[in-house]
Symmetry: C2
Subunit: 165 residues, 2 copies
């Protein structure tokens, strides 16, 4: 099987904006609380749970590595989904634009320490992929009725490669 | 000033149940996803945002240590609040029962690696207190109008001590 190659880039809020939020500290806290002992970086993700409600779950994901094969992407039509690593393990984040129900123009990003992501409702994305080590994640997503999952299997897989360094 | 002493105990879901949820892995995942590569521990917290909505914020809190002085507790009448450490730093969690608007019967817990907490709506609690080192936390709480904060200052402070080991 021949394959199309995608180069993984460093995750930035700007590049990720069409797909979701990068949840990270940028600059000073929005508010100082607890008599000066705690800084709050406030409300960093566009959450949307449609007819459902927010829930907190824990995901334990096995390690992946580069090059990484993407034969499928999925999306959740009914809600956003946030992934917050608790072990400092980088994530490979694969996302795609939608063209009339088909994922197109795939992009790949590697998260940096301190970065989490929130995928906006309906964003095509690859599987949760901690790089190099298994990863534990706090996940905030929609709890509710309905399947809330669409998968798209590519006739020809993509391969995600590291950027030349 | 004389002080009342509280002994900090190991955090367990059972002991914490009157105040909130311990968000932790207990037993096997509820669901295996991503072709066997990821386990999901599903919907571990009773979230409640009243008339507001869920938000994700990041808190950076300075280190505390034992013995720890509690001169104030607070509560959020309009929503639950979840604290998820991302550095593996233990938290000192001080909570109290409510007796007609007064916090009574204070309890203190120390979280273990892998544990996060969700304070139920309206639970009296102490300030965010990572022990021994500064702590970074993902926080899921209510975003919305209104003050959503009540403080209670004790006429006589409490001192939280470590359990004898």
């Amino acid at each position: 099987m021949s394959a199309k190659t995608i180069t993984a880039r460093v995750l930035t809020a700007e590049a990720f904006a069409p797909f979701g939020d990068v949840i990270e500290r940028s600059g000073s806290p929005d508010k100082i609380i607890n008599q000066g002992m705690c800084g709050r970086h406030h409300d960093l993700a566009r959450l949307d749970f449609g007819s459902g409600r927010a829930g907190i779950s824990l995901f334990d994901a096995k390690a992946r590595s580069l090059p990484h094969t993407v034969d499928m992407v999925e999306r959740h039509p009914d809600g956003s989904q946030a992934f917050m690593p608790v072990d400092g393990v980088p994530m490979l984040v694969v996302v795609a634009e939608d063209d009339a129900g088909q994922p197109v123009n795939l992009k790949a990003f590697v998260s940096q320490p301190g970065q989490s992501i929130n995928l906006h409702r309906g964003t095509w994305h690859g599987v949760l992929a901690p790089l190099g080590k298994p990863g534990r994640f706090v996940v905030v997503d929609r709890i509710g009725d309905g399947d809330n999952l669409e998968e798209f299997w590519f006739p020809e897989a993509y391969i995600v490669d590291a950027a030349e360094s």
